[in-house]
């Protein structure tokens, strides 16, 4: 376990690339893209976890290497756990995408219906500056 712990430039760029790509995909509407985005960010996170242990070294297996040469085992164990958890959630999200496709015929995340209603209402209220309209608008919106 060496002293120089700074994540090197190459790895920093990889991290930046993975997180950027993942974040970008996360902000899309296609659930499959979002899902891929989470997978990529997950990869980035797992890599980061591994890197948090320090620079490369020998596998932390007694007998194969001296303890000083070994990489830090704890982040590896945590990365392993994280990998499995990410995998579990990925499959779930995949099933969700599938279910969404079966039910809706697409796998997109559309805007929330109820929020859209309130946005409509907001626009209508902004147009009519009359106070009295308020309650009536609300009731009309609600009962339509």
């Amino acid at each position: 376990m060496t002293a120089n712990l700074t994540v090197n430039l190459t790895m920093a760029v990889v991290l930046a690339a993975l997180y950027s790509a993942g974040f970008y995909l996360l902000m899309q509407r296609s659930l499959m893209r979002i899902l891929i985005g989470t997978v990529i960010v997950g990869h980035g996170a797992n890599l980061l976890l591994q890197l948090a242990g320090g620079p490369p070294g020998r596998a932390p297996i007694l007998g194969d290497a001296a303890p000083e040469q070994m990489t830090d085992p704890l982040p590896q164990a945590m990365a392993l756990t994280a990998i499995v958890i990410t995998f579990a959630l990925t499959t779930f999200l995949l099933a969700l995408a599938y279910r969404s496709w079966v039910l809706l015929g697409h796998d997109e995340v559309r805007d929330d219906v109820e929020d859209r209603r309130i946005r409509r209402l907001e626009r209508r209220l902004a147009e009519s500056e009359d106070d009295k309209a308020n309650e009536d608008e609300l009731e009309r919106e609600a009962t339509q």
């Binding site: 790895m11 995340v109 559309r110 219906v113």
Partner: protein
């Protein structure tokens, strides 16, 4: 005392059972606890009035200063007469008033009793927080009693308005209580009175507490909830909105007055708002045709009067205030009950429809006349005592201010006399051109409760020494001084008497001039329409709510994620960038192999973003995964690499399973073109922030990982493993592993529940298809706010 409060509440809790069978019986039972309370208080009043207050403490949460502290003193005795005394009467009256078995009756009996209990608690409270507890409970009772079944929109709105205004005041008052309590170090009123804190907190507390008092006691500009609350059944109006609850504000000012003696933030608003309210209420009452509304505005006016008196903070004003408090409770309760009888027997309470009722119901008219006399301040009624004393109190103070106040009070009194006359005239006089009103004679159960306070007004007026003792022992909190004012029927020919005479005379004149005055009022501008103000504020509230929510809660997941990311970039990200000094010894790589693998991963990552086909993207993700697996190997993590490879493959298989059914290409027009670059910029910023974080945090480590050294040292002996990662997984940190497999189990179960759902759908559909020739396709339906089973067109098309 707590026992009495509790009995009220417990009986009220049990009352619905009785009320379901016999509402009359329910009201009769409901009258018992207040009667008992009244009896108990009166039995002890002798000692109490001579200065021996009875104190009881029930601890609740001492840490927060929360306790129920009750203290029976002169003010409390006085208020008990109103709260419990009138309470008993109203409950008895209700037996006759409500239709037996009606929904209103079933609701009202327990609620009225609850109200009586909380009000009783309120007047006994010697603790700010205790006051607040009961204060808010009375508000809730009022809401439920005003709204009843909430059938009409008017009743719902009125109840809501009363609730909102008084709660608003109550909450501000609570804040004031906390300020006061924290400044004083105690919430016990008697202790604060004994040793009031000073300085800014006191002034702030005064202003805040007054908001509560002014709203609860319907002072201008918060007054309007009171007239609108008149949609409630009349016994409720009589009890809550005349005799007791609306007095709570006045009571509070009276109670806390000694704390704030000489604090301008305290007395100035009470006087100013009180005077305005008195005049304004009286003026409005002059023009009402609905007797109840008339009384309501009269109440507003009188509450203003009371506020002026109790807010003044002198012995004399307090004395007058106490007398008026009592007087108002008596006559206003009577008048409401009378109007209730009129309404109940004739079916109307409109002055334009009522005619000749005095002749038909002389007993009722007599009772009303007694009460009106008290209200108008005619001797020898209790009202006269109070009013004389009031005029005297401010004169005694001397100076321009006292005189000014007296003149405004006089104006108010003129209006009071005028609407008193209007009330009597409106209800009982024979009016030309109006058919005599019919209707059955009221029974004793209605008449007697109305009569008792009316006669009490006479008795307390004639028996003025008794009244003086009662009021005086309250006023003594301000110190009686050398030659204290006394309540007397005859002070001699002095200015107060003149004022009284002028008030009566002018008032009668004003009543005579009612027709031109009403015309005048129509022509006057309406600068102060509190009702419209309230409506505007509520509309503004709704508008703001919809506006803010409509603009922020956009319902778009990408936006939400963008906001989260933006927060990450903006908040910790900016701090990182600000503190960034990239370490000088930062290497390009630690192992040559990192570079090609990095290139592989980066290219694949860029390609994924640009991929148009789902499978392509998945395969590229696979490349990323394998590439990272390679990096793990290079890093010296064979276990992680192995898991990574395995998981990556399995993920890919799972993806491919699902992609069989999805279209090959991603949906076109996935993102609005204009948002593409901002999104890209944001994501790159996010990525850079995290990479920067990785560099900075890893560079900041100062100590070697002691924990891991432990693991390495103990692995063989302690965990029986040479593979330390595995030792961590199954031994050192086995609990993580247990958790992790739970997640796996959960995910698998979830996948099954989602994917196999379509199988169940099919099965259900086929079984349903076998039953009927219903359409096989079920549209997706929303169960949400507007979800009236309407199809979600957007979702389907």
């Amino acid at each position: 005392m707590s026992a009495f409060v509790l009995v009220h509440l417990l009986v009220a809790l049990a009352l619905p059972i009785v009320a379901r069978r016999n509402t009359g019986m329910a009201f009769a039972i409901a009258a018992l606890p207040p009667a008992a309370a009244l009896t108990w208080v009166l039995a002890r009043s002798g000692a109490v009035l001579s200065g021996d207050a009875i104190v009881e403490e029930v601890p609740w949460s001492p840490l927060l200063g929360l306790e129920f502290t009750f203290r029976l003193d002169a003010l409390a005795v006085l208020m008990t007469l109103l709260v419990s005394g009138i309470g008993v009467l109203v409950l008895v009256y209700s037996i006759g008033y409500f239709h037996a078995g009606s929904g209103d009756a079933r609701r009202s009996a327990p609620l009225l009793l609850t109200f009586a209990g909380t009000m009783f608690g309120l007047i006994l409270a010697d603790d700010l927080l205790t006051v607040y507890v009961f204060w808010e409970l009375t508000t809730v009772c009022s809401f439920l009693l005003v709204g009843q079944a909430g059938i009409s929109r008017e009743s719902r709105r009125s109840a809501l308005q009363a609730l909102m205004i008084t709660t608003m005041g109550g909450l501000v008052m609570l804040l004031g209580f906390v300020v006061l309590g924290e400044a004083a170090g105690t919430y016990r009123i008697s202790e604060i009175v004994a040793e009031p804190p000073g300085g800014t907190p006191l002034a702030v507390a005064a202003s805040l507490i007054l908001v509560g008092a002014l709203t609860k006691s319907a002072q201008v500009p918060f007054h309007n909830w009171l007239p609108t609350a008149m949609v409630a059944p009349t016994p409720i109006s009589a009890y809550l909105h005349a005799a007791s609850m609306v007095k709570a504000g006045v009571f509070l000012v009276a109670r806390l007055g000694p704390v704030f003696v000489g604090v301008p933030e305290w007395w100035l608003p009470t006087v100013v708002f009180g005077l305005i309210t008195m005049v304004f209420g009286g003026w409005r009452a002059l023009h009402e045709t609905d007797l109840k509304k008339l009384l309501a505005y009269g109440t507003v006016s009188q509450l203003g009067f009371l506020m002026v008196l109790v807010g003044q903070g002198t012995y004399a004003a307090a004395l007058a205030g106490a007398a008026m408090l009592l007087a108002h409770g008596m006559f206003k309760a009577t008048l409401f009950l009378v109007v209730g009888i009129v309404d109940h027997q004739t079916g109307t309470r409109d002055v334009r429809e009522l005619s000749g009722l005095g002749r038909r119901m002389p007993a009722l008219a007599t009772i009303a006349a007694l009460a009106v006399a008290s209200m108008a301040g005619l001797p020898p009624m209790l009202g006269f005592l109070g009013k004389e004393a009031a005029f005297g109190a401010f004169l005694e103070e001397g100076g321009g201010t006292g005189l000014l106040i007296d003149f405004v009070l006089l104006l108010g009194s003129v209006f009071t006399v005028a609407y008193s006359a209007r009330m009597l005239w409106g209800a009982f006089a024979r009016k030309p051109g109006v058919a005599p009103t019919g209707g059955k004679q009221p029974g004793a159960v209605l008449l007697v409760p109305a009569a008792i306070p009316a006669f009490a007004g006479v008795v307390l007026g004639i028996g003025y020494p008794l009244t003086d003792e009662l009021a005086g022992s309250y006023a003594a909190v301000y110190g009686a001084g050398v030659d204290p004012l006394h309540l007397e029927l005859w002070h001699g020919f002095e200015l107060p008497l003149l004022f009284s005479v002028v008030a009566v005379a002018a008032g009668l004149w004003v009543h005579a001039m009612r027709v031109p005055l009403t015309a005048l009022r129509r022509r006057l501008p309406k600068p102060l329409d509190a009702q419209r103000g309230y409506e505007r504020i509520m509309a503004l509230l709704e508008r703001t709510a919809v506006g803010v929510t409509g603009r922020t809660q956009v319902g778009s997941l990408p936006t939400y994620l963008a906001i989260i990311l933006l927060t990450v970039v903006a908040v910790p990200g900016s701090v990182l960038v600000y503190h960034a000094h990239v370490p000088a010894d930062m290497a390009l790589h630690h192992n040559l192999l990192q570079i090609p693998l990095a290139i592989l991963v980066i290219i694949a990552a860029i390609a994924v973003v640009r991929a148009k086909r789902r499978l392509t993207a998945v395969l590229l993700v696979g490349v990323i995964g394998y590439g990272i697996g390679g990096l793990f190997i290079v890093d010296g993590g064979p276990d992680v690499a192995l898991a990574q490879f395995l998981v990556e493959t399995l993920t890919m298989v799972a993806f491919v399973f699902v992609l069989r059914r999805l279209p090959a290409r991603f949906t076109k027009g996935d993102a609005a073109r204009s948002l593409r670059w901002p999104k890209l910029a944001l994501s790159v910023a996010g990525g850079v922030v995290i990479a920067l974080g990785a560099v900075l945090f890893s560079a900041a480590r100062q100590q070697p990982p002691a924990v891991s050294a432990d693991f390495i040292a103990q692995s063989e002996e302690g965990a029986g493993a040479t593979n330390i990662v595995n030792a961590i997984l199954v031994d050192f940190r086995a609990f993580d592993t247990v958790g992790e497999i739970s997640v796996l189990a959960v995910a698998a179960t979830g996948v099954a529940s989602l994917v196999l759902a379509s199988r169940f759908d099919r099965r259900r559909r086929s079984s349903r298809g076998a039953q009927a020739t219903a359409p096989a396709e079920r549209p997706g339906v929303v169960l949400s706010g507007n979800g009236n089973g309407r199809r979600q067109e957007e979702e389907q098309s």
